[in-house]
């Protein structure tokens, strides 16, 4: 299939063209750039819902149920499920389809399995662009299921409008351990496998932790301090900011308080008097569908919250800023590295840094002053 045919068929709603487009974007083929250029104007319409949580929480089965429910409500659904790539072979086994048998025969549902391909943030590098294609293709809802390695899956938060964290009963200690990574990213919490012992207790524990995080300025300030203590984490979290209008205005995307502002703003506590979103905690049993309708209701409610409070538009702007920033950073770095390598500066300075005649900061300054700019 050539690019022109593919685009034509893509516009006509041909699923095979969509599938091939995803392959090109995933593989970074030469056609991928044009593909994104042509489809980008049609994006920004779908509700992107992230589903994250530790392995064994039942995410895929829950996604299967969520898709069914959205279909009952007349929405078309795309599912993207990311599984880990083996670090040894570079291969992967993508088994999520097994758990999605309920909806996969429905022509209103499209499902694509992606391998993480070495990326550690819970999704693959291409996931954002894949979601863009599905959005442009016209799906109403896009469910993105992360790898589920348990931690540092914050990237889903930047990609999804609504992030649902799936947990299971009896994880008390685990929640303590991972709360720093999980409480901030969830717009919704589902305690799945709620037919097991301890579901109510888990709900209570999560509610308590959320309340602590929502106690107001004191809590936020404390969190802000942590972010400042770790500027690396702050940068990463900032990249995930949905609504960081302050950042854009200040012209400094790397403010250390951005993460706190993001988490706060996301839930509407940044500005006193604003309508706030306190993440609800729901019980679900994906196995038999208990609680799934309520979860979907809350997802839709969150979407309405985003739209009514102007956050939906903010998300778009922030998303645009983040995308631009990422591309500029990536390309600028690549350009500087290429030039420095070609000029022999990189090898020379590497040797000097290694034998301690020059420190890394001075060396970096030298490279930048020589090769950044025209």
């Amino acid at each position: 299939m050539d690019l022109t045919t593919l685009l034509q068929r893509f516009q006509q709603g041909d699923r095979r063209a969509l599938a091939r487009a995803i392959t090109w974007v995933e593989n970074g083929t030469p056609e991928a750039g044009e593909l994104i250029r042509s489809t980008y104007p049609s994006t920004g319409r779908a509700h992107v819902v992230g589903i994250t949580g530790p392995p064994g929480a039942g995410k895929s089965t829950l996604v299967d149920r969520l898709a069914s429910r959205y279909r009952e409500l007349g929405q078309s659904v795309a599912i993207v499920a990311v599984d880990p790539t083996s670090p040894f072979s570079g291969g992967a086994i993508l088994g999520d389809r097994i758990r999605m048998q309920r909806t996969l025969n429905d022509p209103g549902v499209f499902m694509r399995s992606l391998a993480s391909r070495g990326h550690l943030g819970g999704i693959s590098i291409a996931t954002g662009d894949v979601v863009g294609l599905l959005d442009a293709f016209g799906f109403d809802v896009i469910l993105v299921e992360t790898v589920g390695a348990g931690q540092s899956e914050v990237e889903i938060m930047e990609l999804a409008h609504t992030t649902t964290v799936v947990l299971i009963p009896g994880m008390g200690d685990d929640i303590q351990a991972i709360k720093a990574g999980i409480l901030e990213i969830g717009d919704l919490f589902a305690v799945n496998k709620a037919d097991r012992d301890g579901a109510d207790r888990s709900v209570m524990e999560i509610e308590m932790m959320l309340d602590l995080g929502h106690m107001g300025e004191a809590g936020i300030n404390r969190w802000d301090g942590e972010a400042q203590a770790n500027s690396g984490a702050a940068r990463r979290l900032d990249r995930t900011g949905h609504h960081g209008t302050a950042d854009l205005a200040s012209g400094n995307p790397y403010t250390s308080s951005a993460s706190a502002r993001h988490a706060a703003d996301r839930h509407g506590t940044a500005n006193p008097g604003d309508i706030s979103w306190r993440p609800p905690v729901l019980k679900t049993t994906a196995k038999d569908g208990q609680g799934v309708d309520a979860l979907v209701d809350r997802m839709i409610e969150h979407l309405n919250f985003l739209k009514e409070t102007g956050r939906w538009e903010q998300f778009k702007r922030h998303d645009a800023a983040a995308k631009l920033r990422e591309l500029i950073t990536l390309r600028a770095a690549r350009t500087v590295m290429d030039r420095a390598t070609a000029a022999g500066d990189l090898d020379r300075l590497t040797a000097s840094v290694a034998d301690r005649t020059v420190d890394p900061y001075t060396a970096a300054e030298e490279v930048l002053s020589r090769h950044l700019g025209t």
């Binding site: 970074g28 083929t29 072979s89 992967a92 993508l94 389809r97 025969n105 694509r112 399995s113 391909r117």
Partner: protein, 132 residues
């Protein structure tokens, strides 16, 4: 560019014997393929749709229940109907020698009977999928 070969390993019909399918799926993974495994009890329609959505290079069918002459041709026709006739279709499992030519005539690219060498399956897949 970061091209990975994608293969769908599938069981068709009421055939529950999945030891071979799982072993083959792992072998593909260990050889660097991205493997989509759809589980047992799949209808040809569902397998064809999965192959299309996942845009796989290869569809590997494991059959041990004797319905291969009915279900594999059905699958191939479904793929053709949707313009996916460039996918490499392989069949493995308990397939009698005398059925091989019938399957090849239907469009199966390679048939791997009992005791087939995993490395040979991988080699064959690489060679023929890459040629497309």
């Amino acid at each position: 560019m970061n091209r990975k070969l994608r293969v769908l390993v599938a069981k068709l019909g009421l055939d529950a014997h999945d030891r071979g399918a799982k072993v083959v799926a792992r072998a593909y993974r260990d050889a660097g393929f991205e493997v989509i495994y759809t589980g047992i009890y799949q209808r040809p329609e569902a397998v064809a749709e999965a192959a299309i959505q996942e845009d796989v290079d290869v569809v590997a069918i494991s059959s041990l229940a004797g319905a291969h002459l009915t279900l594999i041709p059905q699958l191939i026709h479904l793929l053709k109907d949707q313009g996916a006739d460039d996918m490499l279709v392989l069949a493995g499992g308990v397939i009698p020698e005398e059925d091989i030519s019938a399957l090849l005539a239907e469009g199966v690219a390679g048939v791997f009977g009992p005791g087939s060498d995993l490395d040979e399956i991988i080699r064959f897949t690489r060679e023929h999928a890459a040629a497309k």
